[in-house]
Each structure stands twice: as C-alpha cells, then as structure tokens.
Amino acid sequence: MPTIEVQRQLLPILGSPNQGARFFNPELPSSEPFVPGHRTCAGCGPSIQYRMTSKAAGDNTILVGPTGCMYVANSSYLCTPYNVPWAHTQIGSAGSFTAGVAAAYEAMIRKGKWQGKFPNIICEAGDGSASDIGLASISGALYRNHDCLIICYDNEQYANTGIQASSRTPYGGMTTFSPPGPEVPEGKKLFPKDLARMMAAGHPHCYVATASVGYPIDLMNKVRKGLNNKGASYLMVYTPCQKGFVYETPRSIDLGRLVVECGLYPMWEWNPEKRAYDYSFRPQTMRPVSEYLKLQGRFGHLHAEHIAKLQKFANEQWRMMGVELPEALIQAADAKNLVNMSAAAEAETVAQTI
C-alpha cells in the first residue's frame, strides 16, 4: 500500500535564563491559543500553566480536556477560551481519547486524508484524572507511545468538585474529604502517590519531567521537549489552587517556587535515550517546608510533629536528587527541634543560614 510519510514539527528550545524570567520574551510566538475571558479563579495555577503550555506549543495544536477545573471553569457553551481545537473527554479517558486523536492523525496523514504537519496533541489532565481514575488510560497511551504530550496539572486535589483529596494531595493537606479533627489531627494521613516517577519507571521510552508554574521558561521548554519527542511524553506541573490551598491570590508564582525550594516538588527530567534521571535543575535556595506551609490555610491545623514528618519527606526527596542536606534541614525533621523554633520568624532565620 502506498503511504505518505508523516512530517512532524520541531519547536525551538528557549535560550532565556532558566530561572527568574518574569519579562517579555521575544522568542515566544505572539499567538495566544488560550485566551482570557474564562471563569477560572483569580490566581488559578492551572490556567497560568495552560497559557504557558499552549503558547509554547503554538497554533498547530489540538487540546484534549478530561473533566476537571480546566474543563469546567474554562469552557462554557457558546463561549470558549481555546483558539485551537479542543475537546472535552471523560475524566477517566485522558490517555485514551488523546490516543484516539493521535492515532487518527497518524492514519489520516499516512493515507492522504489530511495534509499538513502532525499537530501537537496535548492532554491537560488534572491530578484526579491523572493519578486516580484515568491512570490506566494514561499508562496505556504512554506504553503504546502515541505521539502526544500528556500533562498533569497538579493542584493536588479535586478542586472543581469543591476540594476533595486525590492521590496527589500531600500529607497533612486539608480537603473536604480529609478534614482534620480530634481523631485525625493531621487531616490527610497518606503521602502522595509519586506519579511522575511511576510514569518514568513504567514507561522508560517516554520523555517524563516535572515542572512548576514558578519557573515559566523551564516549563515551556519541557513542553517543547515533550512535543519534539517522537512518541509519548508526560509532564507533571505544580499548579497551586488558591481556593483549595487557601493563600493570598497574588502568591501563586511564589508558591510555585517555594514548593521547589523546600524540596516538596522535586524538579527533574527523565531522559529516554540515556534511560536516566537528570537532576541538574537547582533552585536558587533551599528552605525548610514550614516556609511553604505557613502561607497556606490547608496546612494551618498541623502540629510540630506533622510538619517534621513533611520535612522528613522533603529531605528524602533532596537525597533522591543527590543533594547534600544542610544541617538545619536535618534538624527541622525532628519535631522536638521544631517546637523549639516554634515561631515562624525563627523558621525564616533558618533559611537565611543555608
């Protein structure tokens, strides 16, 4: 059977500094595949991510939106914020619907039914979809290596249904399904599913990375690397939720940095060629988790022992990345020391000593 070779896009990697870029970037296209006017909350982390991601992808793009905030708050019938094709799919269908779109374009281009370069096919799944109900469908899409990018915009909860715990909700995070009370003082008792590592370990032929809205250029470059990779890619992006985390609206980007600086959101890339993790990303500073926690109402109920547990968890993440721990952070993983520090002001002085 005569077939047409499928031509693919190659997006340039941005040369701008990896960190601290909060300025106009002439390297980026002026087009806005995701425009304002939607109904997301002020300071919404996922929608900030959505704009960066779609801008990095450009106009030859198709977006898939499983049920979640980025479906419910973005799309309103007879009014749409998407300047590129977008389709809703079921919350459990993140990977499978996306696979269908990718397979359709492979076949249609090959059989001469559609002319043009293979589009960027991006799925924007919330962490509920990606870590719970749609996990198998995403694993299927990665395993079969469809040419697509699956993004988990990780706001660490089911937000549009009114803040319920997901497998990504951190230990101690208060949600309406994990409220603190006399019997369960910490609220959420379980530590989050290590979703991105699970994807990298189980689908080592895929490009997998973690990112945060606190580092826009890094995020956009990871999007482009994911799209340039011929095959499936997976990106998990920290996207704070003002409504669920309960913080001051203008601090979304700050949280996106603090979560990385305190070690709760390790930033890495999985290189499918080398079959190895790349931990070369380093935040400008390291801080104790208390600095991140204290800005958020969802952690307001935590006792010293709970904060120490989270510090211990963060320290494990640093170790996994091969980072040597400053003594102060080791000390902060012990509840007794934390009680001694007690005041937030004292915790801040720890940061400056690192």
Partner: protein, 402 residues
C-alpha cells in the same frame, strides 16, 4: 453504477466475527480499538492479521480496557477518522460512560457487538442484555441473524451513521456463537461496489487545527434541553435515511432487506413470534414444520431496534391474534417481569384499534439454543391464549414449565 461485468464478487465460508472484520476492511477504517473478551474477540484477531499482512492500512490499538476502547474511538472519530471497535457482555458495560458522550457529540463511531450474557457468573453464551442495556443512549442499534447479514449491516450502518443528516454512532449486533462462531456462506463484494455505496467519512466539524472548534464545553441547565432535543430529533430524522440507505444497498449489492422488520410466513398467520437475532433461523424451520401441520404461525423479526419503528411494529402486529415475544434478554422487575422487548411491543400496540394478545417468553437465556420443540411448546401457548381469548400469564420461562 457498477455493471455485472466489472464486479468481482466472491463467496467465502466465514463466521460472523470474520464477516464483521471483513466489513471493517471493506470500509477502509482508519482506527481500530481492540480489547479481548469472548466471543467478539475473533473479529479483532482477524483485523490484527489483516493489518499485519498489509491488507488494511489502519492504526490498530490494543487498548487497556473497553472504557479506553470507546474513548479512543471517540477521540479518533472526533478527529475525522473512520473508527471500528467492539465488545461483548460485561465489556459493553465497562464502557458504558462513553455511550452518551459519543452520541451527544454526534460522532459516528461503529461498535460491533457479539452478545454475551452478563455476569454473574461468567457465562459465555449469548443474551442480548449487554447491548440492550444501552438502547436509550442515542446509538443506532440492530441485530443480524447470520454472517452475511452481519457483513451487510456493518456497511449499511456506516453509511447511515456518517450521513450528515444523521451523525450518530452505531451498534451492529450479532448473537455470540450462534452468529459470531458459526460459519456460513458470505458474499464479499467488489471494492468498487463498496466505494459506490460508502463515500469517505467526512465529519462537518472535526478537531482540525485549521478550523478550530471546541467539542463538548460545559453548559448551563437551560442549555441542556435544546441539545437533548436535537439528539432526539437526530434519532427520529434518521428513519427516512435508514430506509433510503437500505434501498440503495439493495440496488448496488442485490440483497434486499426491509430496514425494520423481516416478516416470515405472516400472510395468513394468526399467532406470531416477535424476536431479534439468530434464533430467527431456528424459528423459520420450526414455523415451516408447524405450517406443514396446518398451524397458522409466523414470525416477525425486528432488524432495527433504535430508532424503534413504532408505526411499523404496530401495523405489522395488529394483524395477528396473539404475539409471543421471545426476549433473549433480562429485564429484572420490568413491566412483564421478563425481558425488555415486551414493553416495546406493547407500547407500539397501545394506539392500535386491533390489539393482539401479547405474551413474553424467556427463551435462549444464558446462551442456550432455542430448540425446535421449544418453538412448538411456545406455539401451543400462543394457540391456547388465542382459544381462551386472554393470556394465562405475561411471562413464561421456557424450560421451567410444562
């Protein structure tokens, strides 16, 4: 139109599963979503081999579940590809969430179903409950009774579903084993005939970066009813298209099917069976035998249940004295405490001036064959009711009574 001289048809002896796979090949499908469950699996096995042999250029996706099969199909159809998928039994149910979104977004996905009884326990036999439980989800739906009809129904369903006046997904059903695994002579057409009958799939608003559209955005409650009404109308308005497509099929392929009903020996019949699918084949033999003994019995076989041909069923069944509905499905706690076909028949007859007596037979359950003597037994029940002028009871479980 192709002339007889340039048409290269050939007869093959294949089962229903392979006939369905052949139909997908002739339809030149672009994306196939497979997941194994007996008995429909053989269709996907055949298609996998065709792709491996280079006979069919399609993306063959081994999905991770039936839910994913239907989601893949939804995504691919939304992008403008012709899609084929299928399932059986609990697999049909595992994908249930997707049936309404697919018909609601008006994507003409085609799904082959070889029926299987639902659990518990794991019974491989054919029972129509799997597909029938989805009958109100906005999919065109009908049963074939042999491999040739299965082949034909797939092509017919693509043509109807992809018609811009219709744009609805289709469930093309066949009984597990009785059709799916029994070989019969099937005439495979010339590709030119199929080209003439089935134009390439062209959706009016696919996910295409050159013409951006948003599919399935969130709506407010007051925006729901008009969309539901539109889907309900699409079902109703598909009816003339269904008839037209069956006529065109007959012209091009030479096999004439009534779109809605097959009537067998009904001209002077007083009592009739009303059923769907493969048991019609045995019914025809049973009826012939009983006719030899002077019994005025016939059969009406429903070929398309969605959209439901209410008027046709009423006209057809009003002629008779007694109608025996052979269910082959479970409607636990339903109107007749038997199957779900009974209420479809009775509702169609309600506005008739001449209402026959209607009774329901739970036969062929769990995939059991309905044997000739059971047809004779059921006929006796129908004749007793005719004599008595009323039914003894609404539902008989065949094989559990004397």
């Amino acid at each position: 139109m192709a002339t007889a001289a340039d048409v290269k048809k050939r007869m093959v002896r294949i089962n229903g599963c392979v006939a369905s796979a052949q139909a997908a090949k002739y339809a030149d499908v672009d994306v196939i979503a497979a997941y194994p469950i007996r008995p429909y699996t053989a269709t996907m096995m055949a298609l996998a081999q065709m792709v491996a042999n280079g006979e069919l250029d399609a993306e063959y996706i081994v999905a991770d579940s039936e839910h994913s099969q239907l989601s893949i199909s939804h995504g691919a159809s939304s992008s403008g590809a012709r899609v084929f998928t299928g399932s059986s039994g609990v697999g049909v149910q595992f994908a249930y969430e997707l049936y309404s979104p697919i018909s609601g977004s008006r994507m003409p996905v085609q799904m082959m179903i070889a029926d299987r009884t639902l659990d518990p326990p794991g019974d491989f036999g054919s029972e129509h409950t799997d597909a029938l439980s989805t009958r109100d989800m906005g999919w065109l739906m009908g049963w074939s009774c042999d491999a040739q009809e299965a082949f034909d129904n797939h092509l017919i369903a693509y043509r109807i579903g992809e018609d811009p006046r219709v744009l609805l997904p289709q469930m093309v059903c066949q009984d597990g084993f009785f059709v799916s695994h029994i070989t019969g002579d099937v005439e495979l057409p010339d590709t030119g005939q199929v080209k003439e009958f089935l134009p390439p799939y062209k959706h009016p608003y696919p996910l295409d970066p050159r013409h951006p559209v948003s599919h399935g955005p969130q709506i407010m409650p007051e925006q729901g009813p008009p969309l539901q009404l539109e889907r309900a109308r699409a079902m109703e308005e598909s009816m003339p298209v269904i008839e037209q497509v069956h006529e065109e099929f007959a012209k091009i392929f030479g096999r004439k099917y009534d779109a809605w009903l097959e009537e067998f020996m009904t001209d002077d019949a007083e009592v009739v069976f009303f059923l769907q699918g493969a048991h019609a084949v045995t019914a025809r033999f049973a009826i012939k035998h009983m006719r030899d003994r002077g019994i005025k019995v016939g059969m009406v076989r429903l070929r398309t249940i969605r959209p439901y041909p209410t008027e046709r069923v009423r006209e057809a069944l009003s002629k008779f004295k007694v109608v025996g509905v052979i269910e082959t499905n479970m409607g636990l706690g339903s109107v007749s405490s038997g199957g779900v076909l009974y209420s479809e028949v009775c509702a169609a007859l309600y506005e008739s001036d001449k209402r026959p007596l209607v009774m329901s037979f739970m036969a062929g359950m769990g995939g059991e064959a309905i044997v000739l003597k059971e047809f004779y037994w059921m006929t006796e029940k129908l004749m007793e009711a005719q004599k008595r002028g009323k039914i003894e009871k609404r539902t008989h479980w065949v094989g559990f009574e004397h």
